[in-house]
């Protein structure tokens, strides 16, 4: 038995070691590539970022898109999911189907469909007020059409995150208790239900944010220039800088996740453990 256990330990270590090498090597190599220089090493790829043409514009656009997308996703999903928990299970199935369907349509295909709609719209709606909507949605300063695409793409992820959170909380009992204590509906939801869903809300927001920050497909095909598309154009001319941005994006994702974990853990410390 002891022999078996030590053999298992050896095997475990070996698996994790090999995996670790495979996953760490590209990162180490990327960092090295981005500071490598014939005369030693240089941090120009990082310092030159801020002054690079288009960097601030594209980053600003991406952050705006991300913020609006996260807000829209939460505003659409949270009330619907809470209501479904309190009410009919049949609607719950409908929501589940609705939030899973976007998985079946790859981003490229969704973009093709959106372009089809945007092309046909003006032909048939030329003299109607709807025509203005089509123009407005494609405004290059803030393309709402991208928000629509991103919300659809993040629905499945956000739905799963929120659903997992809701499963751990007995929404119905919480709301009934709050209502019995005389709280109004909004108050019951905002002060009782939502604080209990903090982890799930953060998780859903993080997943949506990560998706928007890295989304390239629909933005590039529709011809806008958020951050990911900008990196692509830089990558063709300045390889070092594009790799530097990749390293940074990995770091940012990691920091975001750590913050998320910290936010979740802080909560656990404060609440007394349930028997």
């Amino acid at each position: 038995m002891a022999q078996l256990i030590s053999r298992l330990r050896l095997w475990r270590g070996a698996v994790l070691l090999v995996a670790g090498i495979y996953f760490l090597l590209p990162m180490a190599a990327s960092v090295w590539f981005s500071i490598d220089d014939p005369q030693g090493f240089t941090f120009e790829a990082y310092t030159g970022l801020l002054s690079a043409p288009g960097f601030t514009d594209s980053l600003w656009l991406t952050l705006q898109l991300a913020l609006v997308t996260v807000l829209v996703v939460l505003l659409l999903l949270v009330p619907a999911l809470i209501a479904v928990r309190l009410g009919s299970p049949r609607l719950r199935t409908v929501l589940e189907v609705v939030c899973t369907l976007p998985l079946v349509v790859p981003p490229v295909a969704l973009t093709a469909g959106l372009i089809g709609v945007l092309r046909w719209g003006p032909d048939y709606l030329m003299d109607t007020p709807f025509f203005q909507t089509f123009v407005f949605v494609q405004d290059p300063k803030f393309p709402l059409v991208l928000v629509i695409a991103y919300v659809l793409m993040s629905l499945p992820l956000a739905y799963r995150a929120l659903d997992a959170g809701l499963r751990a909380v007995d929404v119905r009992t919480l709301v009934e208790a709050a209502r019995n204590c005389g709280a109004s509906w909004p108050r019951a939801v905002f002060t009782v239900v939502l604080p209990n869903l903090r982890g799930a809300l953060l998780n859903a927001s993080f997943l949506t944010l990560a998706l928007v920050l890295g989304e390239f497909t629909s933005a590039s095909i529709l011809g806008y220039q958020p951050f990911a598309v900008w990196i692509y154009s830089v990558g063709n001319s300045q390889a070092q800088m594009s790799v530097a941005v990749s390293v940074l994006s990995l770091l940012i994702t990691w920091v975001l996740l750590l913050l998320l974990a910290a936010a979740g853990r802080e909560r656990r410390h404060r609440t007394p453990a349930r028997p």
Partner: protein
């Protein structure tokens, strides 16, 4: 901390929808008087602690948004795939199956097959590699190992697209650090090939598998393993007859998730391989930017339909499995 698909629970057996089936206190205040507790005052009539219409109304914005933003493009694809495009010589706007026929022939058919092949291979490898890693994490005695690996997986599973492509170009590309260090080019290595793309895809697919299979492995009880050993089963036999059959739905579900992610991926390949590996997602993008023959403007929509059909077939396997996997591993 996880993007993993979680098993869908069975709907609650109890259903109090409609009516005021609330086992509250006897003296509930009426909803119109919030926070004004008047003890002893009994409200007459029906106590409504849950709005009856609320449950239905709160889902309206979501369903309306979905109907418009998902419905319209879906209709556009469905109609466009079967109509002659506006720049066709004859019969613009007429019903035709030419687009679909063209989309499963020649170069497009090659691209579709190549996409399916790449997705299936990477999903299979990802499943086979992800399982032992997840098992090592689950059975590890150190909490730190578990936390570290799972949070790293969370980061890496979200590290797709362009940054991933650039990181690998810097590592294993023609001028990559590792390529130069080990003179890989002399050994016939090229990142810009089917093999290279497989290696790159695994970088985000394996963490995805680790994330999605870990909950299932957590559900394997130690007692089962002990029982198997007490009955003189070897480790291999335990895995063959106990663990794998229980894990099978979760594993297949994970495989499908990986397949879908690899199949839909576009940015990584677009930034890396150019035209050396034909992929359906790239053909669609090319067709959308107008690189098609005159009269084939709707070809992109037909190709999209092909892609959706493949993805839908795969998802149809996945959804029932999610429910199944919850049975043993609760």
């Amino acid at each position: 901390m996880t993007t993993a698909p979680t098993p869908v629970p069975t709907p609650a057996a109890t259903d109090h929808s409609g009516g005021a089936g609330v086992s509250g206190t006897a003296s509930a205040t009426s909803p119109t008087v919030p926070a004004q507790r008047t003890p002893g005052r009994h409200t007459t009539g029906r106590r409504r602690l849950r709005p009856r219409a609320g449950g239905w109304l709160a889902t309206v914005p979501l369903l309306a948004f979905f109907a418009i933003s998902f419905g319209l493009p879906a209709i556009a694809i469905a109609i466009g795939a079967f109509t002659a495009s506006s720049d066709a010589e004859t019969g613009a706007g007429q019903f035709t199956t030419d687009n679909l026929t063209a989309s499963v022939q020649g170069a497009y058919w090659t691209a579709l097959l190549s996409s399916v092949k790449l997705s299936a291979l990477t999903a299979l490898l990802g499943t086979l590699i992800g399982l032992p890693i997840a098992q090592a994490v689950v059975t590890s005695r150190y909490r730190a190992v578990r936390e570290a690996v799972l949070s790293a997986s969370g980061v890496l599973a979200n590290f797709g697209g362009l940054p991933l492509a650039f990181a690998f170009v810097a590592t294993l590309g023609n001028a990559g650090e590792l390529t130069k260090l080990l003179h890989l080019t002399d050994h016939g290595w090229s990142l810009y090939s089917f093999t290279g793309l497989t290696v790159v895809y695994l970088y985000f697919l394996v963490p995805l598998m680790v994330l999605s299979i870990t909950p299932a492995l957590d559900g394997l009880r130690v007692q089962w393993r002990e029982a198997a050993h007490n009955n003189r089963a070897t480790t291999l036999q335990y895995w063959r007859h106990v663990a794998l059959p229980i894990l099978f739905p979760s594993l297949l579900g994970g495989f499908v998730l990986l397949f879908g992610s690899a199949f839909a991926a576009y940015a990584t390949a677009a930034a890396m391989v150019g035209a050396t590996v034909p992929l359906i997602s790239r053909s669609i993008a090319d067709a959308l930017s107008g690189n098609v023959l005159v009269g084939q403007g709707n070809l992109a929509l037909a190709l999209s339909l092909d892609m959706i059909v493949v993805a839908a077939l795969v998802m149809a396997v996945y959804l029932p499995l999610q429910r199944r996997s919850a049975r043993w591993l609760s």
